[in-house]
């Protein structure tokens, strides 16, 4: 398969990957914005991170940047892991305090 990819003149180009990334990003953002549940918001964030990763890898593939893009994608994944851990810890805390994880009800920022 590798050979094929390498040798064929493909229809699918950079823009296709980017389009997927755009859609994924928009979905992730939509999830972040619309969902009430904090865990759902986290999932949205994960989607956004993934869309970003696609971008990294796509540009790494089509641009002349060497393999660095993939490396950054790797870092993003690591960060995502750390973020998820912390975020969940916070969510747990919030839950303990408010008995609720609905972000729309946790509006202490208001006034």
């Amino acid at each position: 398969m590798q050979e094929e990819i390498r040798n064929k003149k493909l229809e699918v180009g950079l823009n296709h990957f980017l389009t997927v990334s755009v859609v994924l990003f928009s979905l992730g953002l939509y999830g972040v914005v619309t969902r009430k549940n904090a865990v759902m918001v986290l999932m949205g964030v994960e989607l956004i991170l993934n869309s970003a990763n696609i971008n990294f890898v796509a540009f790494s593939r089509f641009g002349n940047f060497g393999i660095n893009g993939e490396l950054y994608a790797l870092f993003v994944i690591i960060l995502a892991a750390a973020e998820a851990a912390i975020a969940l810890a916070i969510v747990l805390n919030i839950y303990k305090r408010f008995a609720n994880v609905n972000v729309d009800e946790i509006n202490n920022l208001k006034e």
Binding site: Q2, E4, I5, R6, K8, L10, E11, V12, G13, L14, N15, H16, T19, V20, V22, V23, L24, F25, S26, L27, G28, L29, G31, V33, T34, R35, N37, A38, M40, M43, G44, E46, L47, N50, N53, V57, R61, F62, G63, N64, I67, E70, A73, L74, F75, I77, L79, A80, A81, E83, A84, A85, I86, L88, A89, V91, L92, N93, V101, N102
Partner: protein, 165 residues
């Protein structure tokens, strides 16, 4: 249409459709499981882009780590006995309009930009190169990330149990 293209569309479809489900599902558990599919799709795209190592890491970390973590979160924060693991949405319409416009703009930017693409000889396997970079050029970053993970680990544990005192 080549096989490659077909595979791409397949994975793209999996990713996007499952993504839509993730953000729209009423039940959090459904969302979590469709997220699993999304991660698979993304992983497939990685493969298509010749990033084999990354694809593996994607599955391992996201599916095996983060997703499980999220599920735990769901379990811990919802009264499981109620089986009411639903989660509502709000401000759906402004978000849809805004994000549609936003996406359109992004798309417009993307298409109107003349990307300078060039054919790039993808090495047979990227693992070797990634590994070498990690311990040479990005050694410091690598170390820092290691520490970060450690800190996050301890921090998360500490935050989660603080209330007990």
């Amino acid at each position: 249409m080549e096989l490659y293209d077909i595979i791409f569309y397949l994975f793209a479809a999996i990713t996007i459709v499952s993504g839509i489900v993730v953000v729209n599902a009423k039940n959090i558990v459904h969302s979590a499981f469709s997220l699993l599919l999304t991660f698979f799709g993304v992983s497939g795209i990685y493969v298509l882009l010749g990033a084999d190592f990354l694809a593996i890491v994607q599955i391992m970390v996201y599916v095996g780590g983060i997703l499980i973590l999220l599920l735990f979160g769901v379990m811990l924060t919802n009264k499981i006995t109620d089986v009411e693991i639903r989660s509502g949405s709000f401000q759906v319409f402004p978000a849809i309009i805004g994000l549609a416009a936003f996406a359109a703009i992004l798309f417009g930017v993307m298409t109107s930009t003349n990307w300078k693409t060039e054919s790039f000889e993808i090495p047979a396997t990227t693992t070797f190169q990634l590994g070498r970079l990690l311990i040479s050029e990005y050694a410091l970053v690598f170390e820092l990330l290691g520490i970060l993970l450690l800190v996050a680990l301890i921090g998360a544990a500490s935050i989660a149990r603080r209330d007990k005192e």
